[in-house]
Subunit: 336 residues, 2 copies
């Protein structure tokens, strides 16, 4: 039997458990070119919220009634496609379900790594590559520069902070709450932190970036981005990775009132998506695994045990309750 | 005798004639390292408004009482610096005055060109290089793409439209008024025009860019930029050249409510200033002069006769009364 969370209504503002419905069904037979994959890890990401909207984004919108879209790591159980065979570990948009039955096309066979499978989501994959290429390619971060990372205790943010340090930048981390800030400062090596729950971000940036900001790894948008724009140096680069502050907005929100600073400071703001860099995944993975094994790049998982908890795991992202990469363990990592 | 316009108060909103005071004074003697330059052409640009503010920008703020800052072409009359000699044609921030007496350092000796001296401002110099490098370098405009140019009947905009055509792009020009639009369409070769006085810009962009926008040469900002952001294609580039809609704002104005589109469409928005490209002036000048002599790049001058008219010439820029490059003829072009 399969079990799945289906998207049955679209949220206005924050998503809720009522947007999803749990359905069980018999496993269908495989057609030619299809595979069956047992899901092991389901990745929960801010972008999942975008997928719930009644609008195309970088992916087509999801029809109501569909299995909720989600990125997973799983193991092939049966295959009727020459590219995959039983036992292979694959990653792809398997959805919020125990078993994916569908085209093999679009699934990526994962190389073996000297780490648990969950590292594909916690350290590598879209999370790690987003942080790595966002800093190195999009933002062209350089040794000695001052880097600001917002949502710095999140999955991508916490890697961006550490990659920034490994690249020789001075890193200022913005996060919410004393414990997250302590973790960033004491365990991840941030040079300074701003607790946005305790301090105005603009004031915090004046305090921690007396010589201005050269690079911003932006995960939040809104007022946070406005505060950053207020202190950018000549030639600053803003890598737009996410705008989590905007995803639950029910109407248009005003953009930064000081966007003219981007002009005056000759700055660059650039949106990006990790899929533009899939072709260079190996290069990033080698760096990330190397730093991790050398003790210079930590990752933390925030694991919800069981597919039943997927909607609750999504909500954590928006309440700021998570620390590290949010994952749902759908099935055992023990491999056949 | 010298005569000069001094900045005696700062505008709140639109500048006015009262911000300036006409003063005459005897010419001072030259110190070692100084030159005296007779001004011929004074360039009037939107950025002059920024220089009137009580704030540093890409240049230090101007103290009240100073001669108003302005870019000029003039001829050296006397020199006590080895780098320049009487008769040389120079360009620099000579100010709103008949005679500049000051350091030779910072003045650029101009090469001879097969065109009137005014072409240094109408076709070449900061105007031409801004349009040329904004499109080719900042926006990386490519043949076959759709380009939008705002303030398209202005000095920089009208060159950007034609350079875009010469580079093989489809060009949509935004300007105010039927006559400007006719000029852009019939004389400068724009593929489509939007008269913002007669049509909502967002609606106009839907009409003229059914397949979206690849490149935006942005001179206006505000609502115009927001309308552009609403229709950008994947990987679009926005070259932020100016934000004339914002320069007279008396308080912060909301930024674009749809800035998240830059993220979703993986676009890039980049502020720039022509001085970053001075080192490549010769390369651009060759292209621009070549296109002009081949009849593929026109420029229009909007000349005010006499230094006395400088404040009025500045106001034209913000009322949209000008068509082409605004210049003040300070002295005769007849050379000694």
């Amino acid at each position: 039997m399969n079990a799945a969370w289906h998207l049955v209504s679209r949220p206005a503002g924050l998503p809720s458990a009522e947007n999803f419905e749990w359905r069980e069904s018999a496993l269908p037979a495989l057609a030619e070119g299809e595979v069956r994959v047992r899901s092991i890890w389901l990745s929960i990401d801010p972008t999942n919220r975008i997928w719930m909207n009644d609008a195309d984004s970088y992916l087509p919108k999801l029809a109501l009634g569909s299995v909720m879209r989600g990125g997973c790591i799983g193991q092939v159980e049966e295959s009727r496609d020459a590219s995959l065979q039983a036992g292979d570990i694959v990653q792809g948009l398997l959805g919020w379900q125990r078993y994916y039955t569908g085209p093999a096309k679009g699934l990526a066979k994962m190389p073996p790594i000297p780490l648990p499978l969950s590292a594909h989501f916690g350290l590598l994959g879209h999370i790690g590559l987003t942080a790595y290429f966002g800093l190195t390619e999009v933002a062209q971060a350089k040794e000695g520069e001052t880097l600001v990372v917002s949502a710095a205790a999140g999955a991508v943010g916490s890697l961006a902070v550490q990659i920034g340090k490994n690249l020789g930048l001075r890193v200022v981390a913005i996060a919410g709450g004393a414990e997250k800030c302590r973790w960033l400062l004491e365990e991840l090596g941030a040079d300074a932190v701003i607790d946005y729950k305790a301090e105005d971000v603009a004031a915090g940036l004046r305090r921690t970036c007396p010589e201005g900001i050269d690079v911003d790894f932006e995960n939040v948008g809104g007022r946070t981005l406005e505060a950053v724009l207020g202190r950018i140096n000549l030639g600053a680069r803003i890598a737009l990775c996410g705008m989590i502050s905007q995803y639950n907005a029910t109407g248009p929100e005003p953009g930064p009132a000081n966007l003219a600073n981007l002009l005056i400071r000759r700055g660059r703001m650039q949106g990006f998506i990790v899929s533009d860099y899939w072709g260079r995944a190996q290069e990033a993975a080698e760096k990330l695994i190397g730093w991790h094994l050398a003790g210079r790049l930590k990752y933390r998982l925030d694991v919800s045990e069981g597919l039943e908890l997927a909607p609750a795991a999504l909500l954590k992202l928006f309440s700021g309750a998570n620390q590290g990469k949010v994952l749902v363990r759908v099935g055992a990592e023990t491999l056949a």
